[in-house]
Amino acid sequence: MAATLKLEIVTPEGQVYARDVDMVCLPGADGELGIFPHHAPLMTLLGEGEIIARRGPEEDRILVTRGCADVTGNAVSVLTVFATDEAYLDEVKAEEARQRAEARLKEKLSPEETSLVQASLAHSLAQLKIKRRPRL
């Protein structure tokens, strides 16, 4: 059995994903990063995109918006505020989140809050985009 990577994705609401995987693709702030087992220790900020985890022939996709990843030896921990496993993606909830975020943006917010709400909006839009994209 080849070496595997322990991938964990944690948000403030709890753990979203924890599995042993063969390879992980991370949406780094400056571009995609492919992480294989025995990667050099790496700490990176994440942008917006999908984390793709390969397990043999299978593939899990988790949508994240911002956050950071810590790669040590054979473990990858991802910390992010917004993470949605695409297997459990809920279009209705995403749409609700989008409307909430848009409504919030119209209020008067501090700069930090604005950036958080914008991230939340971006996350819900990305979810909707995936849900509505034609299946290949």
Binding site: V10, P12, G14, D30, P41, D70, S77, L116
Partner: protein
Amino acid sequence: MPSTRNIRRRIRSVKNTAQITKAMQTVAASKMRKAQDAAVNGRPFADRAIRILANAARSLEDYEHPLLEEREVRRRAVILITTDKGLCGGLNAYLMREAAKYDRESTVFIAAGRKGAQFLARTRRNLAAEFSFADVPTFSDAMTIANAAKRIFTEREVDRVEVLYPKFINTLTQQPKAQVLLPMECLWEEGGAGQDGEKGGNPTEVDYLFEPGASEVMNGLLRWFLDFQILQLMLETKASEHSARMVAMKNATENADQLIKDLTLTYNKIRQAGITTELLDISVAQLAIS
């Protein structure tokens, strides 16, 4: 001996009280479930965040950041997180006992929660700011407090920022706990808000690669991890509050039920004594007539 009427009145009033405490117990119990889940689910994130920061800071020996700066502690700020409402057992009292231990001259307090603010005003301590937070603490609540803490720390008004909050252990136990928040170095030396078995985590002495760059990563991390620390502490407080209230109200209901039982017993005794005397009177009168 009190009259039956008085006892009846007392029973009725105790029953009313029991009804109220019972209702409050039910409300607290349902809120408690949610608050406990939120607190427990938030712990892994808070833990990891600290571990990642600790690892990063260790591999960057000479990295400097205003939030990491360690100074001799001359003045300190204490963020006192309490509940807004009472009726939750000794929860706030224990916190205040801890708060009272801080040196009066060199400590400024930041109150989060109304009970703490009232206490600090009553004991005439230095109260720098007062914040309130919703029953379900939001990120923006935490951010407001975090920003205040960051400001007084970076402007060197204080050399250390601590948080005093009731740590949620389980439904029956909550413990007042003081945690150093700034400089952030202390955070990972003591383990953070979560402490989910792993503590601050076995620090790995490795040289990290940083993407996009060390200072960008550290800046990004430090900025929002502090906010999440405070959010986590607020979640812990809420979990403690609702648990303590649930238990306090449960005890109150049980006490009231016991009281009702005792009073009913006394009431029946007096009533029976009355009946016996009356019967006696009647039989004596009967005897006298015949």
